[in-house]
């Protein structure tokens, strides 16, 4: 019998691997022994209800994650000061995903399997929520995304919810506002191709706007991170639109506004909730004034619940909360309301209660969760003026 003989070196590589694999074997087996005990020990006896939050706390989109986290943190503190839920305090565990889908997936796995959270909040970006949702669904842990507006997110499964409106609605809000209030007929669309949110929103806007009798005169695109948009704007200018729809993030929109003015393109810009940041005006300066965008709530809203939220929030953090903060706050509130209605904090029961949320008065409007686990709620249109964002109108679904 002829043996398959290999040379020395590969044997040694093999041996090393065997040893490492052996170490792995033992270490993993240990883990296996431990984990069920932990599970038994923690769930019934723990005095805290753990809620996991996944957000981009660092990286290019850090400001979104940080805003959401502040809102959630504020809500959790408020609830704990009021006695918590069923005598138990809430504990918010915030983990960073650096704005990367694969990081978010790991982080969710950790929150569920190691921290044993009861529910998950996050993410802001739809493309990251899409990577998280299957894991939450598989483990039957309810997940509420505060601000992922892509319809696909909640289609992943029946444990996935959101507290913001979805892109088709947001796109139609601006299309309606443009035709009915601004009486605009010709619009240019400038999309951020690197950004799923922007691509989706642009599509829904176009559909609605053309069905209302408007005309899209030119479509152009850019990539998040670009700094020069003059080329696109020059091409847009040649088509003489009445307005430009730019459903991107404020980071680029502010520069686009400046360069549009520089090229003598004096038409209003229109956009979505990605604009909602004080930085929009800081960077955009005067050029961005006179533009419109749709968002979740207006700080000018006179209703007592909004004013009370803003006042308290200002006392704690010293700043006016933006839309993402308000959504983070509402996400926690909706979750807690659902928890209060269950008797034993079982995750499936919490899911059922979130699904039956009806007419909950949140900061960002009246929230009723529909059968697709999306809230039926209104949007506001804001105008950028020198003093900030001025409330224009509320659009109901």
């Amino acid at each position: 019998m002829k043996a398959l003989k290999l040379t020395n070196r590969s044997n040694l590589i093999l041996a090393t691997l065997l040893v490492t694999a052996g170490i792995f074997n033992t270490s993993c087996t240990k883990e296996e022994n431990k984990s069920p005990e932990i599970a038994k020990a923690q769930t019934p006896q723990s005095e805290e209800i753990k809620i996991g939050l996944v957000g981009s706390l660092t990286g290019g989109q850090a400001s979104f994650g940080q805003s959401t986290q502040k809102g959630a943190e504020f809500a959790v503190n408020e609830i704990n000061n009021g006695g918590g839920v069923a005598g138990k305090k809430l504990k918010l565990i915030s983990l960073d995903d650096q704005g990367k889908p694969e990081e978010a997936a790991t982080v969710v796995t950790r929150l569920i399997s190691q921290d044993k959270v009861t529910a998950i909040l996050g993410e802001v970006a739809s493309s990251i929520s899409l990577a998280m949702a299957p894991i939450a669904q598989k483990n039957k842990i309810p997940m509420i995304t505060p601000s992922s507006t892509n319809p696909k997110v909640t289609e992943i499964g029946d444990f996935i919810f959101r507290v913001c409106f979805i892109d088709p609605f947001q796109g139609s809000v601006m299309a309606k506002f443009a035709t009915e209030d601004l009486k605009i007929k010709k619009v240019a669309v400038l999309t951020d191709v690197k950004n799923d949110y922007s691509v989706g929103l642009a599509q829904f806007f176009k559909d609605k706007f053309t069905s209302l009798g408007g005309k899209i005169v030119v479509e152009q695109s850019y990539s998040a991170g670009d700094m020069d948009f003059k080329s696109q704007l020059t091409s847009i200018k040649a088509k003489n639109p009445d307005a430009i729809y730019v459903p991107g993030y404020y980071t680029e929109v502010a520069l686009i506004a400046r360069q549009a003015k520089g090229l003598g393109l004096n038409v209003p810009l229109m956009g979505g909730d990605g604009w909602d940041s004080p930085k929009l005006q800081e960077i955009g300066g005067k050029a961005i004034e006179g533009s419109y965008f749709s968002s979740h709530y207006s700080a000018e809203d006179k209703s007592p619940i909004v004013q009370e939220f803003i006042e308290k929030f200002k006392k704690t953090y010293g700043i006016v909360p933006d839309a993402l903060t308000a959504l983070g706050y509402d996400a926690v509130k909706v979750l807690v309301e659902a928890m209060k209605r269950t008797d034993n904090l079982d995750t499936t029961k919490i899911r059922n209660e979130i699904a039956s949320t009806k007419n909950y008065q949140g900061v960002t409007g009246l929230i009723t969760i529909d059968e697709k686990r999306n809230p039926v709620k209104s949007a506001v249109v804001l105008k950028v003026v020198s003093t900030g964002f001025k409330y224009q109108t509320t659009v109901n679904p």
Partner: protein, 300 residues
């Protein structure tokens, strides 16, 4: 027609920004044969030091350029210092080691500056103070020119001329050319090689710092990752023009700026970032010496 002309103007003004960064690249490459990956990050540091200096002096929006000159000088000094430190700590100890080690170090320095920038300055963008706002746009019929961008173009060409003068008509420039030709031989001739290399780094980095401030003025959104793409594109410009050639860097940058502008304006904007790399690959395959680089020409 006016749309076409406007595209040309936009392209040249974008190219002039790449040119400012490319000049530093080409100088460092010329003398060390090293792609200084961290060059884009030095440019970022220049923009941020401009930001902090402007706030430090409480500079207001004004139409007189005196504040700008102050900030520009200080930022150039800061980024020059950064370039000096990088060369001294990271590159000099490795000068005798294999190329690949030097390259990895350069990548490491670049990443280190990007990520520590995110920690120190914060990851979200800052708005650069508008310390110098020229009175008005220049409008010719339908065509508009931003005077600030015209200034940048002027500065790029001026610097190009100045560098060309330094390199070819001063003792110092002669030393640079000698070092570029052969380090060891140059030091045998009594040329203080280390000092010359340090000085080249300082000069190149100061140029990047100036670019950072000027870009901050024109595109007032600065962030720690802002140097990555312009850095790479400036490198492509330098290669396109013939790396090591000063005139080539400027011509290459403006060519790239125009190419990008026309790609975006008339074809597919989403291929913008791919264009620079496609140009790079093609030029390296078919004319690796670039437009202006000749095998026999002296490079610095």
């Amino acid at each position: 027609m006016s749309e076409f002309l406007q595209h040309v103007i936009n392209g040249v003004s974008l190219g002039s920004i790449y040119a400012l960064i490319a000049l530093g690249y080409t100088m460092v490459f010329g003398i060390l044969g090293l792609i200084n990956f961290a060059h884009g990050e030095v440019y970022m540091l220049g923009a941020f030091s401009g930001y902090y200096f402007s706030r430090w002096f409480h500079l207001q929006e004004s139409s007189s350029p005196s504040g700008l000159f102050l900030v520009l000088a200080l930022s150039m000094a800061t980024s020059g210092l950064a370039g000096f430190i990088i060369e001294r700590l990271a590159y000099r100890p490795l000068r005798q080691s294999p190329r690949i080690n030097l390259l990895i170090t350069a990548v490491g320095v670049s990443l280190f500056l990007q990520f520590s920038g995110q920690v120190i300055f914060g990851a979200d963008p800052q708005s650069f103070p508008q310390i110098y706002q020229p009175a008005e746009q220049w409008n010719f019929g339908d065509i508009s020119i931003n005077p600030l961008q015209a200034t940048v173009l002027g500065i790029s060409i001026g610097l190009m001329a100045l560098l060309q003068f330094i390199i070819y008509f001063t003792r110092f420039g002669r030393a640079m050319r000698a070092v570029s030709f052969d380090h060891n031989l140059a030091s045998l001739m009594g040329i203080p090689t280390n000092q010359i290399i340090s000085f080249t780094f300082v000069l190149g980095s100061a140029l990047a710092g100036a670019a950072g401030v000027l870009v901050g003025l024109i595109y007032p959104r600065i962030e720690p990752l802002m140097g990555v793409m312009p850095g790479l594109k400036a490198f492509v410009s330098a290669v396109l023009g013939g790396i090591g050639s000063i005139v080539g860097a400027v011509v290459g940058a403006i060519t790239l700026g125009l190419a990008e502008e026309f790609l975006v304006g008339y074809w597919k904007p989403s291929y913008r970032d791919a264009l620079a790399f496609a140009v790079l690959i093609l030029i390296l395959l078919f004319k690796p010496t670039g437009l202006f680089g000749k095998k026999t020409s002296e490079k610095v």
